[in-house]
Symmetry: D2
Subunit: 397 residues, 4 copies
């Protein structure tokens, strides 16, 4: 057993943290209060610096211009980036593009690679992933109503999707659609690349979430696919393998989310500690002298530490023993880390008093926006049941 962090990794993390504090945190008030579209000049400016520092695309393979980090190192990087809602975008590892890059990297044809992967990995275009449907349980990917029917050398896509994040302004969507309705249940769907300018791709609205419809990257699209025709060669990966491909993405994607949450924990915890040492209450003593506050700080510290170790262990296990061996860990971190993150944010808010619910700090944004963490990518409850069944399998006879 060895918990040492390599010197090189430390340097990267420190550079990143420094950059965030100097360049990224100051952009947050704009991010929280105004149109996202207007931020692009700033984001591009930052991205150029990131590329110059050779910190672009931590998870992107080197041949595509990224850093090509290991999963554990990427996890550590994601932790640092997680402290700001803008950082992943600026460093080129934002959802949903990061996942799409991973899929394309593995399955794209040379033409798809040229047209979609290269500019995506370079940050020149954006994409979205179109899976969730409003009428069906998002946690069960086998329940899909959207279809893609082969008509000559085209796929004709029909269906109703929502929570296709960042669809607004995306160049293309990777759409999950049933292509083989009579196949075994896990082999019915395929992934298809649909450029957003295709007729029949109708972005109905950006769904208002927690008070904001948002725009551009910061949005969640509801999309009607209405006789939406794309060339046959837009199939991504083998036909009928949509879920298999999605499944492969699951482990690393989970690590990404969980370490991002740890980053949110760290930032909120740090803000809480600053606040309680600065804020004077009755008698001029700082809040930090109050035992209730001290208890929060101790508990948060311990829980963040536990959550962090658990995610790093899962990343290590995926990397060293494969995703299949790490299925338990991948289920576990989802429902273990998200509530801790929400609790840390909640306590940081409480320690800030009225200031905490205002938008004068980033905490209120975390509180609102990250509530979804316990829902997307499978609600906590589903992961608990899945894990339990796996555990109990060892006891059944």
């Amino acid at each position: 057993m060895d918990f040492t962090m390599p010197e090189k990794t430390k340097v990267i993390l420190e550079m990143t943290q420094e950059f965030l504090e100097k360049e990224v945190y100051p952009l947050e008030p704009h991010f929280v209060g105004k149109k996202f579209r207007d931020m692009w000049p700033e984001i591009k400016r930052c991205r150029a610096m990131v590329k110059k520092m050779e910190l672009w695309g931590p998870q992107i393979p080197k041949e595509l211009g990224g850093m090509g980090l290991s999963l554990v190192d990427h996890a550590l990087m994601t932790e640092v980036l997680g402290s700001s809602p803008l950082a992943h975008l600026i460093f080129g590892c934002q959802a949903p593009d990061a996942g799409n890059i991973e899929i394309l990297e593995k399955y794209a044809t040379p033409e798809q690679r040229e047209e979609y992967l290269v500019p995506l990995a370079n940050g020149d275009i954006r994409s979205c992933f179109s899976m969730c449907e409003p009428e069906l349980a998002g946690s069960n990917p086998t329940e899909l109503a959207t279809t893609a029917i082969r008509d000559g050398d085209q796929w004709v896509v029909n269906g109703h999707k929502w929570f296709s994040s960042s669809a607004d302004g995306a160049k293309f969507a990777i759409v999950m659609a049933v292509t083989d309705p009579d196949a075994p249940v896990y082999l019915r769907a395929s992934m298809i690349i649909v450029p957003t300018e295709t007729p029949g791709f109708n972005l109905i609205r950006n769904i208002s979430v927690m008070g904001h419809a948002g725009d551009d990257y910061a949005s969640h699209g509801e999309i009607m696919y209405q006789n939406c025709r794309v060339p046959a060669e837009n199939l991504l990966g083998p036909q009928g393998q949509g879920f298999v491909i999605a499944q492969e993405r699951l482990g690393p994607g989970r690590i990404h989310h969980c370490m991002r949450w740890i980053g949110i924990c760290n930032r909120s915890f740090d803000m809480m500690c600053k606040r309680v040492t600065e804020r004077k209450v009755g008698g001029g003593k700082p809040l930090a002298r109050k035992q209730i506050i001290q208890e929060w700080i101790a508990e948060c510290r311990a829980e963040i530490h536990a959550a962090r170790l658990m995610v790093l262990h899962a990343a290590w296990k995926i990397e060293n023993e494969g995703q299949h061996a790490a299925r338990e860990e991948v289920s576990m971190i989802k429902f273990f880390v998200a509530p801790i993150m929400l609790k840390v944010v909640d306590r940081a808010i409480q320690a800030h008093g009225a200031l905490g619910v205002s938008d004068d700090t980033i905490l209120s944004f975390f509180y609102r926006q990250e509530r979804a963490a316990r829902i997307y990518d499978g609600p906590d409850e589903v992961h608990k049941v899945v894990l339990s069944r796996r555990v109990l399998r060892g006891y059944d006879e």
Copy 2:
């Protein structure tokens, strides 16, 4: 002991509930998504109906055109109204006007009565209450920096206030300011009526809270009082009695908030129950068949029931034994009910999945907006410490 609800009360509550469902709930999407100012025609239309039904001003004395309900009956009415964020305004018992009416009713001079109380009770004007200051702990009303200095026949007010709710569009503010800096600590401040058009009353901004600055009634003002001069007769109540008057308001105000939260519980609980019976998951069975969901429902039901009994008991005690006798209960309900309310809302959201974090239901609004319940009117932690000290006083010698 007798838990019977009078027949007459039942009728009032049913009429109210029916009206909410027909007229008020349908206004909520506008409320959540758009300018508040544009809603006034609708609100006025509803208020006219409410007055016709003789349901206006549940807590306003009959001679001022209200229903003049007892505290327990008003609590029950507030529970029903609490189910919608618009209802209290439409029924004439919204904070902060309701509290201001209560104070004016007790302390206003005949001239103040005519000029401020009568139109306020009638819903013709709005008001705000200006107490909290950003630099000082809101939970300690004795820490006030705002001053009002007597200069001839005027008061000159200087200070910095925030979270003066509904200041935007209010006709006047009741300002808490130090008038007697050398008096014993609880006798230093007075209440002063400051019309918002007075020079030196500067509404700097509506504070952005949980993503929205809001406007008009739905806002929280930050105000600079800069050499703001009002006539000496704008003093409200005896000089130096500001905290004593505020204290009197505390019990009924607490009942108001807590029963409103129970109303939010009821609505969220009802939405959760509807959702889980309608939503089909794997195999076409409703979510309601899942034991985890059943546990949530049972626990929420029990906790709401407990919270409700506790608040009704506190209201009964204030009414029958006086506020002083009910101090323990008044502290207790604050920190007992707010977390239950937030838990019920949170579980209702979880049961709704992605829909729950969207603004397609009112739940996301409750989640964001009501987080402050654990902060305003004294954070939970302060109330716990206060209650504990009172309890332990019986053991010290």
Copy 3:
């Protein structure tokens, strides 16, 4: 709504409390540490005093020598008695005899009345209730393996029971046995009176529970009924009505348990308050000055208060609207009150430090012995599911 407690009730409760402090609490060290059987002289001495004070049998009808209190008044009395594990026995309202008296009072034939009810109500004999079976879920009374087969003018009982509390030393058992195996499921069982000296009534052991097998009243028997023959007239109530009768007992029995738990809360809470004001820590200040302790005290106070109101409301509802109308409340109090009781005891122990886990106080006894509260009479989880189904019935169509 009226929460007033009648003057007469107050006097009874005060007399009872005073008696407990003077006569009963001092017996506890013996109770916790030694043979129960040796305590009878003390118990009899106390009982004589109780009878003289006319406080015997709060729930026993006057014609049987008891106080004949209403359910609400009995609940209040039970709360006071609950503070000591010996008090119910001394006041003649201990489980399982209290429940058996209630059943006998309603269903006994004149002969059964004379032979069993009168001496039981008078405290001259003891009894047990033999329902639970080790192989079957105790929470489902319809799963019974024990049979009583009619053979001429006798019932022949065969079966394996456990957790028949106080069987050791009891004069008779009321046994739940299947008499009509082909009837609809809820009409299969009957209650039969089996004197413990009957051949075939074999008390195998007093089950060791939480470290102690105990003896006499303070024990939980495991019983084998082996061709145990009793006269036909030992049937109690109509044949096949065993569950119906048990069901009738449920509401009042639940009130009894829950108020007893509130009594445990009160005593533990009081001990905690005393301890923290007396115990000095670093610097000579009492523990009571620590905010974490203050938070415990405030939370416990509020939760005990909520639990108490809930049980009193349920008692009132059973009494005024009948048990059927109060089914929700009867489910709710079980799973709401038990965890609060265990939490209060746990925190009182923690506040006592090493002393808390020792047997130098009663807390350790409560901690061990009352853990079963979340299991007997239906585990919390079963009650939650039952309540939830009832609630959701209003939403299904």
Copy 4:
């Protein structure tokens, strides 16, 4: 980062687990129900086998006949041993002897080594550690009333100690006593070896804890030291260094306790899983099909995993960066792991129903005996405050 477990360690752990199942678990019913003293023949038999397998004394240096494992490996071994309350004793690493061995190993004079350390490490004698005092907060080691005054070539010890575990039958006590009352607070006390046969060493009683006074190894002594004279050379380590020495022991001792608790978690969790797959409820389906149970299993699994990683990380850090660097981690694991252990035991009991509170399984013993985990070695609350202060030190200026 590397979570690999060496092959050799795996083999040791498997051998140990196998031995426990075959030889140690079967001894538990005796342990729970009868005199401890009568168990020694069985324990000696087992110890002989352990020595033959070369598994004796995992933490004892090789030159003293132990395995001399690293702290991390010892932690892993302790986890396995923790599953049974008898295992540590049988493998020669039981508290309080293990800690005493560690101190003696470092500080004993050659004579002390010969007389006390060698037979102790060999399991020929037992010892106790006499620090806690009833009148003073155990969590503050600087508050000591026991004194040792030098009189010629003797120390005269006077004082009142309690919770000196395993004093009954011990050959000697290591006593913490004030020798230098005028020194700075952390330099006042020394450790002194007091043979238990010394006149003036009075074991007043074995304190009854959670229902049992116990005996021999399984006991907690209350001791009066009354003019108890020992030779000057019985001083252990430098005079005035008692707390410094105790402090050194703290980290490894904490690892020992926490990993033992993880062992209890593992065993209880395993019992719960077995129970729920075997126990049939309504309709013949196993309890394991119930979602509430599944949620327990998933949550317990995740929490045990988190706790385990946290303790292993702390062990690694103590070993690699020293105890000083690991102070935060050493505080954290105490209050993080103990509540998880108690929760896992509690849920395992609940899943067992009535059987769970009986002594037919080991769970009831864990429930009672391990409650003290949140108290001894510093109550959770003290560790939280200590950790919080350390964290906040980084923010103060």
